[in-house]
């Protein structure tokens, strides 16, 4: 008798102003209200600033600006910062944050879940796939692509 093995992954849908993200919960460390962002001179428009978090200096980025959207991000009282674990190959202190337009919500991906490819996928080295969650189109980020964009040469 064939045995069905269920694979499930706990994920988060991170709402942003224009391009929601779907990421494994395991790569996130904390969700917090937006603290005061210290500007970093000479930074790209996608680096919104740096915050102190658990005694570390953590850069906060706009994923949409990183994708090339020139519009400045919108901050409001529901905005959050999602702190991500250091990406593979980086130093253990290289946490980073991504601006969310509201609280992320949990989403369980399992074998029975039908993550359909979105009708209008986003083509970018920072995007592994564009899929639909419910009726919403979300992007699954390419973490290696993000690492290369954030830390070229490392």
């Amino acid at each position: 008798m064939a045995e069905t093995i269920a694979h499930t992954m706990h994920a988060l849908v991170i709402p942003t102003t224009r391009v929601p993200m779907l990421v494994p919960s395991a790569i996130t460390a904390e969700i917090m209200s937006v603290p005061q962002l210290k500007p970093v001179p000479f930074s790209e428009n996608w680096l919104l600033g740096v915050i102190g978090w658990r005694g570390r200096a953590v850069p906060v980025i706009s994923f949409e600006n990183l994708l090339g959207d020139p519009s400045p991000p919108v901050f409001h009282h529901r905005s959050k910062v999602v702190i991500f674990q250091p990406l593979s190959g980086l130093s253990e202190w290289d946490f980073f944050g991504i601006l969310a337009s509201a609280d992320p919500h949990p989403y369980t991906v399992d074998t029975a879940t039908d993550l359909k490819a979105a009708a209008t996928p986003i083509s970018s080295p920072l995007v592994a796939a564009t899929v639909t969650v419910g009726r919403t189109s979300v992007v699954i980020p390419d973490l290696d692509g993000i690492r290369r964009a954030l830390y070229p040469g490392r």
Partner: protein, 146 residues
């Protein structure tokens, strides 16, 4: 990051502050001891020496060249052929044991050929101060000479 730094200079510039390892500072001069600059748009003052004059630049809180009148001192960093300086509103010497310095790698491409302008941060409570990397910051100041 240099590990044996015993003191940092807190440089107040245009309502914000940065830290600089004190070992990077060649000299600190009061405004009264410097010559005013009228022949350069970017240089705020000069230090006259027997081996030539050293420029001190005026920067805003984004470290972009900007004329300002509220400065009181200039800090000079060693460079070749001449030291280069930065005018500041205030300079405070802080022992390292009163700071919480952690590594910080700014994301994105480095703005100088030597690397990023910052390589650390002081983080405590709500306060966060970026630490200037002397080599890259000196290279940046020298690039202003054009």
């Amino acid at each position: 990051m240099e590990l044996n730094i015993r003191q940092y200079l807190r440089l107040k510039i245009d309502e914000t502050s940065f830290l600089l390892p004190s070992t990077a500072s060649l000299a600190i001069e009061k405004r009264e001891g410097l010559s005013s600059s009228s022949d350069s748009r970017l240089v705020a003052a000069w230090r006259q020496t027997s081996r030539g004059r050293w420029p001190a630049y005026s920067l805003d809180q984004q470290l972009q060249p900007a004329p300002r009148n509220s400065w009181s001192r200039a800090v000079y960093l060693n460079a070749t052929p001449n030291p280069v300086g930065l005018v500041t509103d205030e300079i405070q010497l802080i022992p390292t044991d009163q700071l919480q310095i952690v590594p910080f790698h700014p994301p994105g491409p480095a703005p100088t050929a030597v690397g990023h302008i910052f390589n650390g941060a002081h983080v405590t409570g709500d306060e966060l101060l970026l630490v200037l990397e002397p080599g890259a910051f000196t290279a940046y100041l020298m690039s202003l000479e054009g």
